[in-house]
């Protein structure tokens, strides 16, 4: 992988013209394709479900990538994802809160859940932050597993309400609704990241990533900007977790707090290209589709194999990921 703490100046974060190069054109083409895909696929429920889930994972990878942009490598995004999922589930089941409000609150809860580990990033750097976030997600998983009075424990929570998209449309049953909603969340995640990248905040994040001491000398407070990065990333991850909960309509600690949702965004974003805007979602879609369409039918037990192989391959052969293949940063 590209070294997050290594040298290199800020010069490489050049602003691009809106027309952009091949990557931007690919992005626009991909978006158009995504919008008309349901019509092309004849509203086939399986393919809409597949790609809709792909968009959610792509949003999660973007959330992870946003944090990595500030130089913070997380091994525990399942913590924020799981908090989001449990927040909306409990609000809906215990208090009868409408899922739409629940999802928004879940975003806030995800941000809150990210603050402790964001504060710890003041002390922990690089590998030690990675270890700390891993332990943090594990802590929350066991807490959710054992706090039976609140979370229902290992049995999980069943019967989550679906999302009513107006009229007869229903998030989980009517796949086209879920598909477009997931796409909208992905676009939201990308828009947030794109805007932040081009703002003072993005510059501060890049400065902290490239050389924290220097950034601090120049008057950028690493602690504050790290907290902000964790909050943004946690909010997005919480939002995605909440949508996932309403899509699957069943959650349990080992699923939403498990290592799966920590490993996947890390692998997908690294595979797509660290510090890029479109790399993480592209990596997510490619890996998820290869895993589900190729490996799942052929080797059902080994369908996570492409993730492991992709990560190992990227570390050795493609340090800048898919984005590196296209020659973009």
């Amino acid at each position: 992988m590209a070294d997050p703490g290594g040298g290199g100046g800020l010069g490489k974060e050049r602003r691009r013209s809106p027309q952009g190069g091949p990557v931007s054109r690919l992005g626009v083409g991909g978006l158009l394709l995504a919008v008309i895909f349901p019509f092309l696929a004849g509203f086939h429920p399986y393919y809409l479900y597949l790609l809709g889930t792909g968009f959610l994972l792509a949003s999660l990878a973007s959330a992870w990538g946003l944090l990595a942009y500030a130089g913070q490598i997380s091994f525990g995004h399942a913590a924020f994802f799981g908090v989001g999922a449990y927040t909306t589930a409990l609000l809906a089941l215990e208090l009868g809160v409408t899922p739409w409000l629940g999802i928004l609150i879940a975003g806030g809860a995800g941000a809150l859940a990210a603050l402790p580990i964001g504060a710890a990033a003041h002390l922990l750097r690089g590998a030690y932050l990675a270890l700390g976030s891993l332990a943090y997600a594990e802590l929350l998983r066991v807490l959710a597993l054992n706090w039976t009075g609140l979370t229902g424990g290992g049995a999980g929570l069943i019967g989550l309400p679906g999302l009513h998209l107006g009229g007869e449309l229903e998030f989980a049953r009517e796949r086209a609704g879920g598909y477009y909603l997931s796409l909208a969340v992905l676009l939201l995640a990308l828009a947030v990241f794109a805007l932040l990248r081009r703002s003072r905040v993005g510059l501060a994040w890049a400065a902290i990533r490239e050389r924290e001491e220097r950034a601090q000398l120049l008057g950028v407070s690493p602690t504050r900007y790290k907290l902000l990065a964790f909050a943004c990333s946690g909010a997005l991850a919480g939002l995605v977790g909440a949508l996932y909960a309403h899509a699957v309509r069943f959650i349990e600690p080992d699923l939403v707090f498990g290592r799966y949702f920590s490993i996947l965004p890390l692998i997908m974003a690294t595979f797509g290209g660290l510090h890029t805007l479109l790399g993480p979602p592209a990596g997510a879609l490619v890996l998820y589709l290869v895993s589900e369409l190729l490996f799942h039918p052929l080797l059902p037990r080994l369908h996570q194999l492409p993730y492991a192989l992709a990560l190992i391959g990227v570390v050795f052969f493609l340090p800048r990921g898919l984005a590196g293949l296209l020659g973009r940063r």
Binding site: Y128, A135, L139, N146
Partner: protein
Amino acid sequence: MSPAALVHSLAVGLVTGSFYAFLALAFALVLAITRVLNLAHGELVVLGGYIGYSLWKAWGLPPLLLVPLAALASLPLGAIWRGLLGRVREPVELNSLVLTFGLGLLLQNLMLGVWAGDYRLIAGDAAPPLALGGIALPRGRLLVAAISLGTVGALHLVLTRTRWGTALRATSLDPEAAGLMGINTDRASLTSFLLAAAIAGGGGVLFATFHYLHPAAGVELTLLAIALSILGGVGRLSGLLLGGLLIGVVEALALTWAGPEWRELVVAAIVLLLLLLRSRGLVAGRGH
């Protein structure tokens, strides 16, 4: 908590703790000599357990014989790990974490493919527990503790009393200076990986005699090894052993007080706490 329960918890904690120290030795040795944080450590242990389980099922070999066999069978993995991790770029700590995260996932998948997701246990003969001054401890667990302490002690002697051990320790202190003094640091690094693989493989068999094997069971072992490496200081076996005993006792007391379902939470909390307290880095003087 009654005094008897307290004493029992302490005894159980010491027995388990010595096993933790033994397992963490594999993690700490590699970290000290190569700066590699092996997140697949727990998966290597579980894999050793599964290898032992298969041999036990196939030929009914006694667990004591399975330990060296699984250790031997794990050596090629040590060489592979060394081959892969020897080539990661700086910062080695973070990049090795990322790579071994992937390797751990790969191992989990392979174990799921070969042994399915079932829970497996190497069940020894059901000898009656050994009663020591009113505390009853299972013989199997005592044997595990004895093997653990024996290995840690033997390794301590090797590291402090032989030229070979001195070369390893010198490499862990300052690889460049060690290289200039004519120590083959590449060989030291390979040695650490092979030793670690053997310890993990053999330790896996011991683990499987009192804990159910499951492809995902390795996570907690990795967290424990991380905690011990922080607590004990890398490269100091006495620190590792003391840390292991301490964590074993803390865990046993927490379990008696709160119940066994909180075990993983205690481990994760200890890791977080230790990381925050010792945030300057695991390898003293090296930073990261």
